[in-house]
Structures are given as C-alpha cells and as structure tokens.
C-alpha cells in the first residue's frame, strides 16, 4: 500500500515532516517501509502560453509555436499534435535541467533554431504520455510561473508495510484515520457532489443475488454518455502516488476511489450486456471464463460469478472479463461496488493464482457499509471528468445489513494486561479518535465501525488502546511475577555434553539442512524418506532419513575448498516414514576424511583411518562410562569389509564404517570417508548410568609382557579376551602395545605384543603366582590361536 504525503494531508491536517510522520505511524503499528520523492526534480521549466502556431515549411509534422513565457515572446519547434493557440504548456528554456539530468540547450531542428522546447508529461517524468504536450489548466495557469511550484510537486510516496489484519489501512482515508488517532482529531471525508438525472437506474438494470454467502451486498450505478479520454494530471498524480498506471478516465477513477476509500470498484461497458440483469451466482461445475488478461480459466467452485443473467461478466471481487471491459468506444458504464465473502475470495484467488488489488482487499475484509459512499463518489467523478450522466439512484441489494459490533472493555482489564495505569477518559479518547462509538462508564461500551473487521473482542480493543497510548510508555517490570522452579531438560543437557566431548576430540559441529536430494539417497533411506508436497526444488524435496547425505555434502564442500582435514559431527533430527507413520528421532553422526587431525612435525602427515574414528567413539563412551563394542555387520552405506555395528552390552547404538565408494561418488567425494551413525535417543538412555564408587586397590600390581606370533587374520580383541580368561580374578588389564608385520615374521603372520597387569584385591601376589598365571595365559594363546611365543 502506498499513497503520497500531500494526498494524506487532504484528509487530515498535520505539520510533521514525512520522516516524522513515518516514525510516528510506525510506532502505532502502521509501519512505513520507505519514503521516496513522488517525482524526480526538474528545474527551469515555466509556464508558457502558445500565441500562434505555424506549420514548418519542410516537415509536415513539425510546427513552429510562438510562445509567451512571461519574459518575452519566442518561437520553438514542436512535434506534438495537440498544440493550438491559447494552450498553456510547460516550456523548458535553455539551461533547464530535466529528470535524468538532461540539460536543455538551444538546438536546431529541421533547419530552425529552437531555444528550448515545450514539454510532454513524459519529458518531465510526470507520466508515460510522450506524444502530446502537457496541457495546463488555463483557469489556474499564468505565464512565467515555475512549473514545479505551480504543480506543487514537492511530495513523497509513503510506502506502508501493513499487517494482514488491517484492511482498513489499505486506503488513504484509513491511513489518515491513523494519523487522526495520533493527533486526536477525525478525518475530513471528501465532499460528495452528485448530480443525478436521466431517469432511474433501477429502470435500466436489475440486480439479483443468488449467492448471498459469496456476495452479501451488491450495488450498481449507471453512468451514461461518458467520453473515454486521458485523465487530468491531478488524477494521474494520485495513481502515480499509489503505484498504479493511468489507463483512461473511467478506469482511473475506479482505481483512485479504491485507493481513497479501500472499496474496490469495477466498471463494465454496459453496452456489452446481453440482458439488463445483474445476477450474482456461484460458479457452476466446469465453468470457464476469459478474464481481462485474455486468459481462459477454469472457475473454482468457490468463485462468485457476476453475470448479466446469461453470460458471465466477471469473477466477482477478483477480475473483470475481457468481453465487458471498458474500451475507447464505451459510452455507458455499469459501476459495481460490492462486498464479497473474504474466505471465498481468498480461496478463489489462491486457486486461480491471481492477486489483484481488489482481491487483496476483499479477502481481508472491506467495509460492507462503505459500499455506497465509494459508489457515489466514483459516479460523481465520472460525471465531472468524463462528462457522464449519472442515472438516478443506486440499485443496491443488501439483504442482511451488517450492524456495528458492540463490545465492552473494562478499564481494569486494560491496565492489568498492559501493566499500566491509564485513566478511563484517556481510553475513551483513543477509541473515539479511531472512530469507535464509545459510551463511558465502569465498563466502556464500544460500537465497532464495520471498517474494522479485526476488532471482535475486548482484547482487540485493549491492543488499540495500548498501541495508541504508546508501547514505549509501558514500564519495564523486571520482577517476574511468581517464582517457578526451573528444571533442566535432560535430553538437551545430554546433547550439550556429547557435543562438548566430541569438540574435545577435535571435531567440528556442523548444522545441515534437513531437506535433501532424493536422487542421492541409498535405497534404504529413499524408502523411509518423507516427501514434501510443495518443495522449493527437486534437490530439496525430501526430509533426511539419516545424517549420512547431509554430512557427505559437507565433506564434499570442504574438499572442494582444499580444507585438508575434515572431522565433523552433527546431532539433529532424522525423519522416517514407515507404513504411513512418521517418526522423528534424534541422531548423531561423525565423519572423518582427509588428513589425520593431529599432524606433528616429528611424525608427518597421514590420512585418517578406522582407528581415529574408533578412538573418538570409545572416548565418548568412556566419558559416559560405557564400554563400546564393535561387531561386523553389513550396512548399505558402508563398504563390504568395513562395516560394523556399534553396541553397548546388548543394546545396538548404531553403525561405523567406511562409506561405500559408490555412495561417496554421488557426492563427488573420491577419498575414503569414515563415518559413524548413532541413535541418539538410545545413547542418551544408555548414558544415564551414574558412577558407583569402588575402593582403590590396596595391594601392588605386577606386570608381565609377552609377544606372540599369530596368523594375520587373528583379531587382537580375541587375544585380549583369551588372556583375560586365563585368570579372571587376577588379571586387571590387558593391553596390546605393538603389532608388527614384516621380516623376520612370515608373510601370513604377525607379531602382537601384549602387556598384562596382575593384581589381587586382598593380597600381594608372589612372583610365583604371577608367573604361574602368565604362563597359563601364554599357554591358552598357543592352544587357541596356534600362537608361537616370540623371544
């Protein structure tokens, strides 16, 4: 919504600058988004009177105009068709600067020297009219007057950013009313000077509403004998301020009155009616209609059709039809002013994908009782500007008139909700200035004007009072009323804890889009993915079922930017649909790619590997006092021989492995990526165990090492477990401290060095006892793994 500063001044007197006005309106909720000059500045253009017009001897289309610009008489060359003696027109003299910065000079045109020229509106940046010289009102114009001053062009477009609950502000009068509330006075409504004649309109046309739900009120007037022509400059100026294009006087008037009053109007060429009966009805099944923009459209069931009893003329409240459009030859118009059901308009508008200025107002709710004023005002202007004859009376069908809503507002309640101490007379003043009908008392009785459909309850009136009384004046109360014990959200806290552990392990947290590309998913994920009905694009058309794709994308992004080490994690939701039931679960994922994230100058650079990832997860689990176990298990996102299940005791927690190369390639990742995926909800449940104190050991431990040569396929973990079995009550800890392959060990074998700590809870072990247990352990390794002791 936009109007100009001076336009608003027509309805209400104020002396704030445009900036000050914008600030004040913004602070009562009628936000001004932008202020721009209405016209680009020009200078050195003054009013001249054409004294004489001579044809150019060589060029037919050129004329030589003798003009008087107040300082003297001169001859300028002009190519416009509308020059004639007695015409007052803008004259740009040499030295004048026009919009766009063009400086006017004396020029020679077709052999004749022309000191400057007469201007069209387009040359002055006032409209798009470029064929004709601008014609000035001979009653008001005086030769020599500065045109900028004469037209009073210092004005500003005020562009408003309105909230959808305020259709009343989609009009100049409504905005003026807001200013009135600031000042405490009421707006001046434009005077209505309507001269009717030429018989009763009701004798020329009937109106019948067959769809009172869609159209509760329909009023029409007939204006006869009109002449279609361009609008006068003042009207074009209004449309320009409103951001609309000028078409012709009739259409411009309809648009102008819509912006002034907020009531959309529609002018039909009455001669195109096949019958003199307006019938308003709901669209029929399969109905098609050609709108003004020459598109044949299928009408949704909610559409309200305006017909002449035979053919459809318009989609009510949304757009007129091509066939009944006002044209250059129109002589009589039927002017429509109606009230349409907002929901019906909104549904129709959305289904048709049409957003006209009229529809945007109707769907928010215009004033059903403002229909008549707008109709009369437009008809009066048509008589004035198009020479039309307004037939007597409006044909107005309004079966169930809407009465102002009556509400009560309790001053005590106002002060309680806002937290202020306003006196009730002040509340009454505010509501009166907003044109509410108000009767004071212990509770204030309020009649809500029908142009405020947003006000239906006491709380709405409280807001009106609060916003005009100024939010800034409401105190800042620091003491929150009543103490509430504040609980900590356990899942939230657990998430924070895990994140801190992983950050401590050198990982960066990432936050990725939950919307992903279905074409890159694994088959398993694709089967679970929740699809959007109205995605932005194919790439973002499903919800992620796991964090795998999101993180691979981050890996790819960073690889492309030469980031050498990618060590990342995310904790977020994943979405899975199974048998039509959508489940949201918390998931965590870790991904490693590139160089190991600790590079040291003594050891050099190496690539990340399985053990880096396993170490991170083991550390995380240890912090939760959990013992992490891995076992080989196939997962579709992992490479065949590097795919493991993660578990704690009997609880599976997730998976770990090397991302399958063909999956990585879908994300343009060509290096190994190690990843782990965890069910975060399960991890949280598993991690709830609290520590239980165990007495510290009182007796010394003894350590023994051994190195065994075993087949390369033997798992270190199995060796450790086997050693533990040798003397479960004496062995405290078993660690592998070296794994060696190569000479002199045979190619299919490896040497594994194991250190074992022995300790008893209740005594110091003797050498003999330790040695005995240790040889049992070595013996067991020999038996189970065919191990040889390495000396």
């Amino acid at each position: 919504m936009q109007v100009s500063y001076k336009w608003l001044q027509e309805y209400i007197a104020f002396d704030w600058s445009p900036d000050e006005l914008a600030r004040r309106l913004t602070m009562i909720g009628t936000a001004v988004e932008r202020i721009t000059p209405l016209y680009e500045k020009f200078s050195g253009v003054r009013i001249a009177r054409i004294e004489k017009v001579d044809r150019h001897s060589g060029q037919d289309r050129l004329s030589l105009c003798t003009i008087n610009d107040g300082t003297g008489v001169r001859v300028v060359v002009c190519g416009a068709p509308n020059v004639h003696p007695g015409l007052y027109a803008p004259y740009a003299m040499p030295g004048a600067v026009l919009p766009g910065g063009m400086e006017v000079k004396t020029a020679t045109i077709a052999g004749v020297s022309s000191p400057g020229f007469l201007c069209s509106e387009a040359e002055l940046g006032l409209s798009e009219e470029s064929d004709r010289i601008m014609e000035l009102d001979p009653e008001a114009a005086e030769t020599g007057m500065d045109l900028w001053e004469f037209l009073d062009l210092d004005d500003w477009i005020m562009q408003f950013e309105l909230t959808p609950n305020r259709p009343d502000c989609m009009s100049a009068l409504g905005l003026a009313r807001e200013i009135g509330a600031l000042i405490g006075t009421k707006v001046r409504r434009p005077e209505l000077e309507l001269h009717e004649g030429g018989g009763a309109a009701a004798e020329r046309v009937t109106v019948q509403i067959d769809d009172p739900d869609g159209c509760p009120r329909y009023a029409a007037r007939i204006v006869d004998n009109i002449e279609i022509k361009p609008s006068p400059f003042w009207l074009k100026r209004r449309l320009h301020a409103a951001g609309m294009r000028s078409l012709n006087n009739i259409v411009d008037i309809a648009n102008y009155i819509m912006i002034e009053t907020g009531q959309p109007l529609h002018a039909f060429d009455f001669a195109t009616f096949s019958r003199p009966n307006i019938v308003v009805r709901a669209a029929t099944a399969g109905e098609e209609f050609t709108t003004l923009d020459n598109e044949r459209r299928a009408m949704p069931a909610d559409a309200v059709m305006i017909t002449d009893g035979a053919a459809a003329l318009a989609v009510g409240g949304i757009m007129g039809g091509l066939a009944s459009e006002v044209s250059a030859v129109t002589r009589a118009v039927l002017l429509e002013s109606a009230y349409f059901n907002p929901s019906r308009i909104r549904r129709t508008r959305k289904q048709l994908g049409l957003a006209s200025e009229a529809a945007l107002r109707f769907e928010k709710g215009v004033d059903p009782n403002g229909v008549g004023f707008a109709l009369d005002r437009a008809a009066a202007l048509m008589a004035e500007l198009a020479g039309g004859q307004v037939l007597q009376g409006a044909v107005d069908v309004y079966p169930a008139p809407v009465a102002p809503l009556r509400l009560e507002v309790r001053p005590v309640r106002v002060n309680k909700i806002i937290g202020v101490d306003l006196a009730s007379p002040r509340m009454i003043d505010i509501l009166s200035a907003l044109e509410f009908g108000v009767t004071g008392g212990k509770t204030i009785a309020v009649a809500v004007p029908t142009f405020r459909p947003d006000i239906t309850r006491e709380i709405d009136l409280i807001e009106e009072i609060a916003r005009i009384a100024d939010y800034g004046a409401i105190p800042v109360r620091r003491k929150a009323a009543g103490r509430i014990p504040t609980a900590v959200n356990p899942l939230n806290q657990f998430e924070t804890r895990i994140k801190e552990i992983l950050v401590g392990e050198g990982l960066f947290e990432v936050v990725t889009n939950s919307l992903v590309d279905p074409r890159r998913l694994t088959p398993g994920e694709a089967g679970l993915a929740v699809k959007l009905k109205n995605p932005l694009s194919e790439e973002l058309s499903v919800m992620r079922a796991s964090l795998c794709g999101s993180l691979l994308q981050v890996v790819a992004h960073n690889l492309n930017r030469q980031v050498p080490t990618i060590a990342i994690f995310e904790i977020g939701r994943v979405f899975q649909q199974v048998d039509g039931v959508i489940r949201e679960r918390h998931a965590a994922a870790v991904m490693l790619a590139g160089n190991a994230f600790v590079t040291r100058w003594e050891t050099g650079v190496r690539a990340v590997d399985f053990y880096d990832l396993k170490g991170i997860l083991v550390t995380m689990c240890r912090a939760l006092r959990l013992e992490l176990e891995l076992c080989a298990a196939p997962y579709e996102m992992f490479a065949d021989r590097a795919s493991f299940e993660l578990r704690v005791g009997e609880t599976p927690l997730g998976s770990l492995g090397l991302i399958a190369p063909e999956l990585a390639r879908r994300y343009d990742v060509k290096i190994p990526v190690w990843a782990a995926f965890l069910d975060f909800d399960k991890l949280e449940r598993a991690g709830r165990a609290t520590a239980v104190y165990r007495p510290l050991p009182r007796f010394p431990k003894a350590e023994r090492d051994c190195a065994v040569i075993v087949s390369r396929s033997v798992k270190g973990g199995d060796l450790v477990e086997t050693v533990k079995r040798a003397a479960p009550e004496l062995i405290e800890q078993v660690d592998i401290f070296d794994v060696y392959t190569g000479k002199p060990i045979a190619a299919d074998k490896k040497s594994v060095a194991i250190s074992v700590s022995y300790r008893a809870e209740d005594r110091t072990l003797t050498d003999a006892q330790v040695n005995d247990a240790h040889s049992k352990a070595v013996e067991l390794l020999k038996n189970c793994f065919n191990a040889e002791l390495r000396e």
Partner: protein, 337 residues
C-alpha cells in the same frame, strides 16, 4: 665366615654419589663401581656362598633389590643429564607444540546455548516438539483460522499425509500447555522451515527460539522486563529496545521489537538502513483464543510469548552477511567462532 655386608649403608652411599654425577664420565664411573660385573653389589652376590645359610637368602634378596633400585636411579639420572644437554643445544622453541586436537561448536549452537543460559537465569526451562507438525498445532490452535490471510505470513512446506513442516517453534506452546497447568515458563529452541527461496538473506530452514510465560497477572510490562533483561545480557548493557505495535495471530497486543543498531548505536548507518534500529524479534501477550484452545481460563491466566530467529541474532552479533554460510559448514567459517 665373612662379615655380613651392610647393604642399606652401601645403597645410601651409592645414591649420594649418583646425585653428584654431573657428566657422562662421572656416570660411567658410577656404573662400573656399583652395577658392573666387578661392582660392589656383584661382589656381594658372589660372596653369598661364604655366608651362613640363614643369611644367604636375606642378603641375596636385599642385594638384588638394591641393584634394581640403583639401576633405575642411574637410568633416570642419565636421562635427565641427556635432556639437559639436549635443551642446551637442540631446543627450538619456534617449532609447534604438541597440541591436543580441539574442534568447535557450530556458531548457531553457541548462540542458542547463550540464549538458553540467559533465559534459564530468568526461570525459563527448555522444551521442544516435533518438526513435522499438524496444521492444528502449527496454525489452528495458534489462532490462524483456515483461509485467513495471516497464513500467508508464513510460507509453508506441506508433507504427504496432511502434515507440514513447522514454520515456527510456537506449536511447542500448545504442546506444553496441553500437558501442564500454569505457571509455565518455557523456552523452545528448534528448527523451523519456510518455503522461501534461498539467498543471502533467507533460507528454507532456520532456528527459532520461542519463549512463553503463562500465569496469573502476567502483563506486557513483564514481557518488556524479560526482553530488556535478555538484550542487556546478550548484546550488552548499552543495547536499547524499541517496541512497535504489530500483528501476530497468536498474540494480542502484539509487538515487533527493535534493538538500537549495534554498529552505530542508533545514529544511523548502512547496517540499519539509516534508521538506527534493527528488528530482532516478535512478541506479544498470548491471545485468549490460544488459552481457550488448551482450556486455560483467559480471565484468570495471562501470558506473553516471543519468538526470535537464531540465525538473525548470530548474524547481528558476529556481522555475518550471508545466511547460507551457516549451512554450508565450511570448516574455515566454523573455526572462526
């Protein structure tokens, strides 16, 4: 019978000698005197046969233990001397130290955590709800009637099976109110989605923090108190707030809250488009219709709610000029926070 050697005295003597050893030559001397094949302890061990049988075992064990102890002390002393020498000659303090790897929390997490901490101090606890929501929780219960133009304020993604992606975390209000009775003071951070084109200023996903408080006698003045308290802690004591009337279906009265420009302090600059203010959040008094939807009596219970975008706050706080950076996760970006 030979004399019984006094091992304790010998050990103490050896230890003292080792203390005095300052170079390799002295260490070599120590080694041959005490630990070598002809050293004192070897001699004692070799002489065991001359002792009475009852003493043999006792002295033998003692001598062996003393030998091990001295060997360890010798190794330690030797290591220390070598390191001293290395420090004097080779130490290059300009080479990198051995660091423990350290990652980082995403900047959005850091900002969220800070917000949660500040509001926790004001008595707000954290709650959340599903991201895939129903129309009822996301709109209807929050007083967005069907076919109401207010629904256009939030471009919505719809999901198969009559669900949608929540457009704000305000549905958490309804979910909490349904389960609890006032007083409730909740903070609900989480992901939200809007069907908006992706560019430097907007993204189809963002993180919102919704806060709300419902109890007897909560007023707009309390809302101002909480938000001013938040702004002072989050942006600094000099931050000023401005409350402008606005419209949200689920609050009445509603307000848009601006903060004095962080760059120019309100004088006007490019960041604030020369207005001196930056919009940071929307808020208001919870609409009676919302209370009715959860069977609270709006005559007895009043409350406020506010919602702010975490990306927006992070962008303001760290002067980040492109929202896409948050979700691209360039590690060089993440490492800056």
């Amino acid at each position: 019978m030979a004399d019984v050697p006094d091992i304790d005295r010998l050990t103490a003597q050896a230890a003292a000698e080792l203390e005095r050893a300052e170079d390799q030559q002295a260490l070599d001397g120590f080694k041959s005197r005490w630990l070598g094949r002809k050293g004192e302890l070897s001699l004692i061990l070799r002489g065991l046969k001359d002792l009475a049988p009852e003493q043999r075992r006792e002295i033998g064990v003692a001598a062996n233990q003393a030998r091990e102890k001295l060997q360890a002390a010798y190794d330690q002393r030797k290591g220390a001397l070598e390191q001293n020498k290395a420090v004097a000659v080779d130490l290059d303090y300009t080479l990198p130290g051995r660091t423990v790897p350290r990652g980082g929390l995403h900047v959005l997490t850091q900002v969220t955590d800070e917000i949660v901490r500040i509001f926790y101090g004001m008595g707000f606890e954290v709650a959340d709800g599903p991201e895939i929501e129903t129309d009822y929780y996301n709109f209807t219960a929050l007083n967005f009637p069907p076919d109401h133009p207010a629904r256009d304020m939030q471009d919505t993604f719809f999901v198969e099976g009559d669900y949608l992606l929540r457009t704000h975390t305000s549905p958490v209000q309804i979910r909490v109110f349904e389960k609890r009775r006032p007083p409730v003071r909740i903070l609900a951070p989480g992901r939200s989605y809007r069907n908006e084109a992706i560019n430097a200023r907007s993204y189809c996903m963002f993180h919102q923090v919704e806060g709300f408080y419902a109890a007897a006698d909560v007023s707009f003045a309390d809302l101002k108190g909480v938000l001013v308290g938040f702004a002072e802690q989050f942006f600094g004591a000099e931050a000023k707030l401005r409350f402008r009337p606005s419209f949200f279906p689920f609050t009445e009265p509603s307000t848009e809250v601006d903060i004095s420009c962080l760059l120019c302090g309100g004088k006007g600059c490019r960041l604030c488009k020369y207005e001196g203010w930056l919009e940071i959040l929307g808020a208001g008094m919870i609409d009676p219709e919302v209370f009715r939807a959860v069977n609270y009596d709006p005559e007895r219970i009043s409350g406020f709610a506010f919602g702010m975008g975490i990306e927006r706050l992070a962008m303001m706080k760290y002067r980040i000029d492109d929202i896409r950076l948050f979700f691209e996760n360039d590690l060089r970006f993440l490492a800056q926070f």
